[in-house]
């Protein structure tokens, strides 16, 4: 574990950061050498993002010392950090798709002629030269950025940050939205940047990529640094066991057999492809929970939306209980066919100003009584569903917005209990919940499964998928890379697959 060397351009000493009751980082040391790519890895919640945000100047309230270029610094905002030479490449690109590539590169810093107007010729020339230096001479700087793929847009974003004077680049999950070919190109770009003696902090869930691009790897666990490893002395297995904090189980689980004919297939997805996912195939069988696990950006949430008619797909066949859905369908048709969907965003799926019972009964008004919704009848439907999901406090007249996040999620599921669909799709069923609420929600899903409904759980939390699924499909970069029986599976086997 190397600490300060003379070639370090950036050093963090004993960094600690608290959020109210939560100790996000505790006495973390980190250093970055000139021309080095240093990866930060760890589970969700290990403290990677917090450390990265301190580096980029997003958080200014922390303890510890921050040394950069031989001076002690303390950034109060990202602009100060960028002016000093530390720039961040965001997960969501902050470029403008309707402006040209050149305009994006010089956003806010356009070169001027001596008359004070924008010097377009110089801008185009410099933009082209700089892109060629990075190995992308084929990019036409006069086309709108939006005409290029996400991978190229990311190259432009990287160059934009470099042109604003960054010596140190922080890359936050740079490959999560990219196709495999684009990932290769990004890895080449990082090699070029390394030759140009730029330093990179690289944050990723994709450990195989980390093993390819990083010179050193720092592992965080529960807000503390576990260690910094030289890449060439490290194996993937060592890395995973350091991340998880225990020895890994080295055997890979066997591949799951196809569903046999006597299984009642409720949801059959064949060759589903869209811009962010390709060739998705899976089946949800009655009395079974299928979990789709993938890191953020793997495309699994968009698959769920597509099955529900809320994300446009280019090809593929979706069959529900033997009935094929049309090529284009709305959420309403999906519901009629027997699907229900609880999204990962409660704000998009709930009426927060409305009482809880109306949130529960809205999809079923036509089944409850006549054309006139009657509050007494609605309560007769909503109250048992609330009691079954243990919504606290159990007052159906309360506004849904007054409930805590976990209880809102219970309402979102309670909605589908009285008139259950054939298949319930739930994205991130337990996000942000405490242990008790988590097990309650997972218990409800298991009950539905035992009553022979189909359940599809989509999540970026391996614990959730492992805890509740009969089978697990693993998605990475828009593709299902494995589908396995959830027997003897654990987090490390899932992490190896992505």
């Amino acid at each position: 574990m190397s600490s300060t060397t003379s070639s370090s351009i950036l050093e963090l000493k004993d960094i600690s950061k608290r959020f109210r009751t939560l100790q996000a980082l505790k006495n973390v040391n980190f250093d970055l050498r000139q021309g080095e790519t240093h990866a930060l890895v760890g589970e969700n919640g290990a403290g990677k993002s917090t450390l990265m945000r301190i580096l980029a100047g997003v958080y200014d309230g922390y303890e510890g010392e921050f040394w950069f270029n031989g001076k002690q610094v303390h950034f109060h905002n990202p602009k100060e950090a960028l002016n000093a030479g530390i720039g961040m490449i965001h997960q969501e690109l902050s470029t403008m798709p309707t402006l040209t590539v050149a305009e994006n590169l010089f956003l806010g810093r356009q070169p001027l002629t001596r008359f004070g107007s924008v010097d377009w010729k110089k801008m185009q020339r410099v933009a082209h030269e700089e892109l060629a230096n990075l190995g992308f001479p084929e990019i036409n700087v006069n086309l709108p950025l939006g005409t290029y793929s996400l991978g190229i847009q990311q190259v432009v974003e990287v160059l934009r940050v470099i042109l604003s004077g960054a010596q140190v680049l922080i890359m936050d999950e740079p490959t999560s939205a990219l196709s495999p070919a684009e990932v290769e190109r990004l890895i080449q770009l990082i090699d070029t940047l390394r030759q140009q003696k730029r330093s990179i902090v690289y944050i990723s869930h994709f450990l195989d990529e980390v093993m390819r691009v990083a010179d050193r790897i720092t592992v965080l666990r529960d807000g503390q640094k576990v260690g910094t490893l030289e890449r060439q002395d490290t194996t993937l297995d060592q890395l995973i066991s350091l991340i998880l904090g225990h020895e890994i189980n080295a055997t890979l689980p066997s591949v799951l057999p196809e569903a046999t004919e006597q299984d009642h297939i409720l949801l059959d997805v064949k060759d589903l492809s869209a811009d962010v996912f390709k060739n998705i195939n899976f089946q949800v069988v009655a009395g079974q929970i299928l979990g789709i696990y993938g890191p953020i950006g793997a495309g699994h949430f968009d698959v769920a939306r597509a099955i529900f008619g809320m994300y446009r797909f280019d090809q593929g066949i979706i069959t529900i209980d033997g009935k094929k859905l049309p090529d284009k369908f709305s959420a309403r048709q999906a519901i009629k066919a027997g699907l229900a969907y609880a999204t990962e965003s409660r704000r998009k799926s709930m009426f927060l100003d409305e009482p809880i019972f109306r949130n529960i009964t809205l999809p079923h008004l036509s089944q409850i009584g006549t054309i006139v919704p009657n509050q007494a009848q609605e309560l007769k439907v909503a109250t048992p569903a609330m009691i079954r999901t243990n919504v606290q406090p159990p007052d159906p007249l309360n506004a849904a917005g007054k409930l805590s996040g976990g209880n809102q999620q219970k309402v979102a599921i309670a909605r589908w209990l009285t008139f259950p669909p054939k298949v319930l799709i739930v994205s991130e069923p337990t996000r942000g919940m405490d242990v008790g609420a988590k097990s309650e929600v997972l218990g409800i899903l298991r009950t539905l499964r035992n009553e022979h409904y189909g359940v599809l759980v989509v999540s970026s939390e391996p614990e959730t998928v492992l805890a509740v699924s009969d089978q697990i499909a693993v998605m990475s970069h828009g593709r299902i890379v494995a589908q396995l029986d959830n027997k003897g599976l654990d987090k490390d086997s899932l992490m190896r697959l992505i």
Partner: protein
């Protein structure tokens, strides 16, 4: 191994945070006072005008107020539906004029028997609303633009077919709707019209409050993506409310023509602003999901009392009236938005 939350938007949920904020009875009262802000505005306005002018608080003048706002009232019923879905209908003035003119032409030129000309006018209004609905839900032009286009189309058709001709000979049926008294010669002036407006408001109230459709209208405006997730066909809702608004515009146009006693060859554009002002004054949100027909009725009375009250004050001349109306409207809107907007919703 505890999983920590890294970013502020994903907070761990603790037992303490799961507690629900319980309102004290005092807070409930404050909230009620705030939701009723339009009613207080109306009462304050009545008190001020009664003190300023002895002729204001008389039964005859109250009749005046009702007669003056009857047209805007019918328009506001349709507009309430539209605004509740978070959309807008800018075509109502043009549609009003066109429907009324069509009804007159069918009577005077084509000699259709009563009440067919009126029905034809209503159909034209409804078709205009459906047209806006198709443009905005099928072609997905925002309603702001779709209904603006429809407004010009309706106005254009009106100018084209009328060639500038004004008709003074109207069929008796619209005349009866627009100007007949209710309850004998000493009865309510424009009583039939006022009754018609009241019936429209009542039907609107019942539909919004007591039907599935009404619930869907609110939900579409409150949170469109959540409504779609629950299986509500939000585009059909937008189409439906624009159709309703087209129908009420047609009805208002025909009744207003009867009250005026003449079919004008050009639209009366001030009705569009009036209808929107009335609905928003009552406390219905422009962004949708909040408000209702009861609020619209209050807004209608505020608007009518303001306009009428200023007429009753001797030292305000008609040249100053518009300016003062504007200021008072602004003040009323600020009060409503600041108070009612913050207060929790109390619907219909």
């Amino acid at each position: 191994m505890g999983v920590q939350a890294e970013s502020s938007n994903i907070q761990p949920e603790t037992a303490a945070e799961a507690r629900v904020i319980q309102e004290s009875s005092r807070e409930i009262w404050i909230r009620r006072l705030k939701t009723l802000a339009p009613v207080w505005t109306l009462l304050v306005m009545w008190i001020i005008f009664s003190l300023a002018s002895p002729s204001f608080a008389t039964p005859a003048n109250f009749n005046n107020i009702l007669a003056q706002v009857a047209t805007a009232g019918i328009l506001a019923v349709g507009m309430t539906f539209v605004l509740l879905t978070g959309e807008i209908d800018l075509s109502i003035a043009g549609v009003m004029g066109l429907s009324a003119y069509v009804a007159t032409q069918f009577y005077t030129i084509h000699h259709l028997p009563e009440p067919l000309p009126v029905i034809a006018g209503l159909i034209v209004g409804t078709l205009c609303g459906m047209g806006s609905g198709i443009i905005s839900t099928v072609i997905r032009v925002p309603t702001f633009m779709a209904t603006l286009a429809m407004s010009l189309i309706a106005e254009g058709l009106l100018l084209w077919t009328s060639q500038g001709t004004q008709y003074f000979k109207l069929s008796p049926f619209p005349l009866w709707i627009g100007s007949a008294k209710l309850g004998g010669d000493d009865g309510l002036r424009s009583g039939v019209f006022i009754l018609l407006t009241t019936i429209c408001l009542l039907i609107g109230y019942l539909v919004l409050r007591y039907t599935r459709f009404g619930r869907y209208v609110y939900m579409t405006g409150a949170n469109p993506s959540a409504a779609r997730l629950a299986g509500v066909n939000t585009r059909a809702m937008v189409f439906a409310v624009l159709t309703i608004s087209g129908f009420t515009a047609g009805l208002a146009g025909i009744a207003a023509m009867g009250r005026l006693g003449t079919a004008l060859p050009a639209p009366q554009s001030n009705f569009l602003i009036q209808a929107i002002a009335v609905v928003v004054l009552g406390g219905t949100s422009l962004t949708g999901g909040r408000g209702g027909m009861w609020q619209t009725a209050v807004g209608l009375l505020i608007y009518g009392s303001l306009s009428n009250g200023l007429d009753n004050i001797a030292n305000i001349n008609s040249f100053q009236k518009t300016f003062i109306t504007g200021l008072v409207l602004l003040a009323a809107l600020v009060v409503n938005i600041v108070f009612a907007g913050k207060a929790e919703r109390d619907r219909t």
